[in-house]
Symmetry: C2
Subunit: 73 residues, 2 copies
């Protein structure tokens, strides 16, 4: 697994009562991508991270945060 970041996607999505499909549509990505990011299979690209922060009306740092448990340095 290659995820270096933790994210609050699932919580933020639940707060707005959006399905994965609804969020995916707002982000212009596939539902599988949203699912994969939520379940920690990979981190989004930076452009997608900007879109994610945008649809939630937050800063990127408020959605994603470095997971120091995983950073080997």
């Amino acid at each position: 697994m290659g995820c270096a970041l933790k994210n609050r996607l699932r919580v933020l999505r639940a707060e707005r009562d959006w399905s994965q499909q609804e969020l995916a549509d707002r982000l212009s990505v596939s539902r599988q991508s949203v699912n994969a990011i939520e379940t920690g299979r990979y981190d989004p690209s930076l452009p997608l991270a900007f879109r994610i922060a945008d649809v939630f009306g937050l800063a990127i740092e408020q959605v994603f945060e470095p997971d120091r448990e995983r950073q080997t340095g």
Copy 2:
């Protein structure tokens, strides 16, 4: 070209008088990666974007910004 974001890497690096190699070393990536990002060949990954913001002591939004010229929205 697929860059959806503009970045201020070159300016920020110049302000600190760092070479591409110096910055690459601080980021734990190759010098070519720094060069490619600076010259707009691609956007960094989100984890790398966090590191970049960190070494400059800035928020991601202060280093990268959506390039609305390219976003067909």
